[in-house]
């Protein structure tokens, strides 16, 4: 086994990006992700890359647009209020089909909120916080190792589909340390980008990065193209993890930190003979709706566990489409649900079931 080293989640976002060939970071400080720009400011000069502390999140996302449009692997990172400021830029990037990666280490909201971990930016990430019909691919890691691995996936996916990719985590994942194995990606190769604005050198035709469609047809065509791409990604890009769903009566659907907490709670409930499993979406968009629909078809009940007032649960319900029940356990921003609480929610669900029977 390769050497394990201890790493903070935020550092893993940064080192994971560098290992994925990202040499351009543009960001603005905000807790709880400050270790990302800080790490980048140290490391980028070492690898010949560029770190810029932008004057704001708005500026940072537009720098990413520029660098990404010029063919570079570029990224930014922020936390909830800062990500809200990036929404116009993200919509532009999606429309102009510029590959890039945006990390949101989310904190409690709304407003200035708090610094504690939160999953209340789910809607913003998957339904489009910006204007217009667009999507980002959204990855949700649940461990420091997975942060590293998904950062690589994120850059590959961004380039493959010419799309912005978000890696959405909560403050806990950014702040925690865990052992990880760092590796050099053997297939690390940044694809050719003939569309990039690298100059019309040696007869290359003009490249234009834009998102304007003044004529209605022009704009509708852009949107038709985007929607077609989204269908392709939905077809090929879904990722999830299952644990003990086969014999489960109740399936907890949770991502990121909630999934970790749920895992411990599930172990506890299983120990008492409760047939409960875990379904962990790794891509929040595209959402693993098909698989959830299958499981619903098989009669399984669901419980969404979120650090929010209930956002992902809508996608679970849309997938289940009324076939079985979908319950909810959540803490509203600011607090992390404890293993005990989730365990109790599971037990209560089974008890209610008994009563109903």
């Amino acid at each position: 086994m390769a050497e394990r080293i201890m790493m903070k989640g935020n550092e893993a976002f940064a080192e994971g990006a560098i290992k994925a060939g990202c040499h351009f970071f543009f960001g603005y400080p905000i807790t709880p992700q400050n270790e990302i720009p800080e790490y980048m400011s140290r490391r980028m000069p070492e690898v010949g890359g560029t770190f810029i502390q932008a004057e704001s999140e708005v500026s940072a996302i537009n720098m990413v647009y520029g660098a990404g449009g010029a063919g570079a692997r570029a990224m930014t990172s922020s936390s909830s209020p800062g990500v809200s400021l990036k929404q116009e830029g993200i919509s532009y990037i999606a429309a102009a089909e510029v590959p890039c990666v945006i990390v949101n280490v989310a904190r409690g909201g709304p407003g200035l909120g708090g610094l504690t971990p939160s999953q209340a930016d789910y809607f913003q990430a998957v339904k489009g916080g910006g204007h217009g019909d667009y999507h980002m691919v959204v990855f949700a890691p649940a461990s420091v190792q997975e942060i590293i691995d998904l950062m690589y996936e994120a850059f590959v996916t961004a380039d493959k589909y010419r799309t912005p990719v978000m890696v959405l985590a909560d403050g806990l994942l950014g702040q925690m340390m865990e052992p990880v194995v760092l590796r050099d990606w053997e297939d690390l190769q940044i694809p050719e980008k003939p569309w990039a604005t690298t100059g019309m050198v040696s007869g290359k035709p003009q490249s234009v990065i834009n998102s304007l469609g003044l004529a209605p047809e022009e704009l509708e065509n852009l949107n038709l193209r985007l929607q077609k791409k989204y269908r392709t990604i939905e077809e090929n890009g879904v990722r999830y993890e299952e644990d003990g769903v086969e014999d489960a009566e109740l399936i907890i659907v949770a991502y990121g930190t909630s999934a970790r907490v749920s895992k411990s709670a599930i172990a506890k409930a299983r120990a008492e003979g409760k047939k409960v499993g875990l379904f962990r979406p790794i891509t929040l968009w595209p959402f693993p709706s098909k698989r959830l629909a299958e499981l619903a078809e098989a009669g399984k009940r669901f419980m969404a566990v979120e650090m929010s007032a209930g956002q992902m649960i809508e996608d679970v319900k849309l997938a289940v489409n009324g076939k079985t029940e979908v319950e909810f356990y959540g803490r509203y921003n600011g607090a992390i649900p404890s293993v005990t609480e989730v365990y109790q929610a599971i037990i209560k669900s089974f008890d209610n079931r008994e009563v109903q029977k």
Binding site: A54, N62, Y65, G66, G68, G69, G199, M200, V201
Partner: protein
């Protein structure tokens, strides 16, 4: 007979969409001429603003990105950092640069980004139909200052060159006008110098070009040129505000 004035290579042959007599067209040509003369067309990457020049990529014969309103300097920063040997320039109106994009221009200038900014000041929002700009003159009527710009509640025209010249990093800052042939020549020189600075890696350069908007000023193109001369130049004095050479002199 020899051609002494022709069509620059760095300008696409497509006719522009600007209103009759709008000096955006002159400024486009000057930029293209400067790029031609410095032989950097193949290395040039333009950043188009949101404003009447939003379609600049249809006119400049080089690669281009279209930036969100006001963010062209940030986009140019991203491009230039990724491709330091390319010639990157933004082309921005006064609403774009001096209103919504104030933070971006100040900070790009302050970082000394090695880019060139062509700042077209026509004292109004052209594309959206003639609203007040930060550079609108006191008393000037616009669709959002229907009673004339009231300095008591909206302040005075912002002098961008003067403001950015309080920063240390910029290498070249100048204000020119295109209201007559002599000034067009001077404007051309300033624009070329700005690009030359960039080619030589000297850092941030900005040329503010006083421009007309006959449509939204409600004047004929020729009247508009006169109005520019008589009203804008007193409010926005022409000249070179920063030039590394002069600094070193």
């Amino acid at each position: 007979m020899k051609q002494v004035f022709g069509y620059p290579e760095s300008l696409q042959t497509r006719p522009n969409h600007y209103c009759p007599g709008c000096t955006h067209g002159i400024i486009h040509r000057l930029v293209a001429e400067a790029i031609d003369e410095l032989q950097v067309r193949e290395k040039a990457i333009a950043v188009a603003p949101v404003g009447c020049a939003v379609l600049a990529y249809n006119y400049f014969n080089c690669d281009a990105q279209q930036a969100a309103h006001g963010r062209a300097p940030a986009v140019a920063t991203g491009i230039k950092r990724a491709l330091p040997d390319r010639i990157v320039f933004t082309y921005q109106g006064d609403g774009d640069l001096a209103s919504i994009g104030m933070a971006e221009i100040v900070h790009a200038a302050n970082r000394g980004e090695n880019i060139t900014v062509i700042f077209v000041n026509n004292a109004i929002y052209g594309m959206t139909g003639g609203q007040m700009a930060p550079t609108t003159l006191p008393g000037q009527k616009t669709t959002t200052s229907p009673y004339g710009r009231d300095t008591a509640t909206t302040g005075y025209p912002i002098q961008v060159c003067e403001m950015l010249s309080t920063l240390k990093a910029p290498a070249f800052i100048a204000r020119v006008s295109v209201h007559d042939p002599k000034n067009v020549l001077k404007a051309k020189e300033a624009i070329k110098k700005a690009f030359e600075y960039q080619v030589n890696g000297k850092g941030f350069t900005l040329v503010e070009v006083l421009s007309t908007c006959p449509t939204n000023w409600g004047m004929t193109p020729v009247e508009a040129l006169k109005w520019l001369e008589n009203n804008m130049i007193p409010a926005f004095p022409l000249g070179t505000f920063r030039s590394l050479e002069e600094v070193s002199k």
